[in-house]
């Protein structure tokens, strides 16, 4: 039997027999669902935390006191603790804690994964946004305020649209990291793509082929995002010259 035939037999045995490829297909679906939902949650948390942090820092300079000052100080303290704890501990540990402790009553593993990675990603997204907001000239805020727009309105209409544009490449990067990081979900028994490949390995005692395919799919998705990011950056540069 030639080497080619041997490979063909192996592929049939590893992937086709008993429709084992479905482990990877279904896993891929779970991976994408977890990544997208976690990304959305992370964006929401990230923007909120970034706005609180910058608002607090700007307010600090102006010396706001009284109840609004106190509330801002408390919110800012919460955000700082959140950033420190989330960025200071491994995502893996956070996932296990979430599954075995904080959400031990939940049987929905996708939910646990989405919450964990959403909260985790939010911390990184927050710092990305904060740097984006700080990169906008303070004259923009002053111009908005001088027209009678409130702080929140100026933030929403003038600062954030420009900041988001500036940080889009960094955000795509965060999304790529998030996608790959979801591969640890196997540790809580969630059948995402990496675990799908690993299950096939366990059944067939063939490690190379299933894991290689899993790796190739991750790579393809990441390359796709990188390509999109490249296009995006070019588009943004064009609009800067307009």
């Amino acid at each position: 039997m030639s080497a080619l035939d041997e490979l063909k037999q192996k592929i049939i045995f590893v992937f086709i027999e008993d429709q084992r490829y479905m482990y990877i297909i279904k896993g891929l679906r779970t991976t994408i669902i977890v990544t997208l939902l976690a990304l959305l949650l992370g964006l929401v948390i990230g923007i909120l935390v970034a706005v609180v942090r910058t608002a607090h820092d700007q307010m600090d300079k102006k010396g706001l006191t009284g109840l609004p000052g106190l509330i801002m100080n408390i919110l800012n303290a919460i955000c700082r603790v959140y950033l420190t704890v989330i960025r200071g501990t491994p995502a893996m540990v956070q996932l296990l804690l979430m599954y075995f402790v904080f959400l031990a009553s939940s049987t929905n593993k996708v939910l646990v994964a989405v919450l964990t990675f959403g909260i985790n990603s939010g911390a990184y997204v927050a710092e990305i946004f904060r740097s984006g907001i700080m990169s906008i000239d303070k004259g923009q805020m002053e111009a908005g305020r001088s027209l009678g727009l409130g702080y929140a309105m100026t933030m929403q209409q003038i600062i954030l649209p420009q900041a988001i544009k500036n940080v889009l490449p960094a955000l795509v990067n965060e999304m790529i990291t998030l996608l790959k990081e979801t591969s640890i979900c196997g540790y809580i028994g969630l059948n995402e793509m990496t675990r799908g490949g690993d299950i096939i390995r366990g059944i067939t005692f063939e490690a190379l082929l299933p894991l290689l395919v899993v790796a190739a799919i991750y790579l393809a998705i990441v390359m796709f995002f990188t390509w999109i990011m490249g296009k995006l950056e070019r588009r943004l540069r064009e609009s800067d010259n307009r």
């Binding site: 102006k62 010396g63 000239d137 004259g139 923009q140 002053e142 111009a143 908005g144 305020r145 001088s146 027209l147 009678g148 727009l149 409130g150 309105m153 209409q157 003038i158 649209p161 420009q162 544009k165 800067d240 010259n241 307009r242």
Partner: protein
Amino acid sequence: MITVNHLYKSFGDHDVLVDINEHIAPGEKVVIIGPSGSGKSTFLRCMNLLEQPTSGQIIFDGVDITQKGVDINEIRRHMGMVFQHFNLFPHLSITENLTLAPIKLKLMCREEANEEAMRLLNLVNLSEKADAYPGQLSGGQKQRIAIVRSLMMKPKMMLFDEPTSALDPEMVGEVLGVMKDLANDGMTMAVVTHEMGFAREVATRVLFMDEGVIMEQGTPEQIFNDPQNERTKEFLSKVL
């Protein structure tokens, strides 16, 4: 229009404004001159609370705007401000720059705002730039748009913070031209500038500031032809 009583402003240990008392009547065009670091920009920026005074009163249109509980956003609508660096919104077209605040503050509907924007753009001969973006305009054009953006709010008073200092020399004239038209229309204006020609021609009153204090003030003739204060003389001898 606006009255400033015992205005103090310090940044840390540094006293930028020391006991400023001033009244600007409706229709006045007050030009503030002085060396850099004299506090003239800070004084201007205190008038609409872009700079929070350390102490003192600012009474605009009968309301003490330094009081707690005053809706500063509402007050600022009536005080247009033009900045040295224009501060147009680069992600919005010229029309959107002009109409954003009136629409978001529900002062005009979109059609009204667009109409008003067109009318004002025509006045400054920039109607063909309505759909352009700030990045496509020259400095002089940007500053004229910035002035028009303030005018969209139909302000009772306009503050100008060195409006021509960031411009190439050949563009200064077009901006000053728009400001002169505005002055002739009776707008109350406070202008921080180094354009002595403009001060001479347009000002009803010139303030000379140094070290956080209004050292001398008077009509342009008094200040430029017969200054009394030694500091004023020294400053004018350098800039004229």
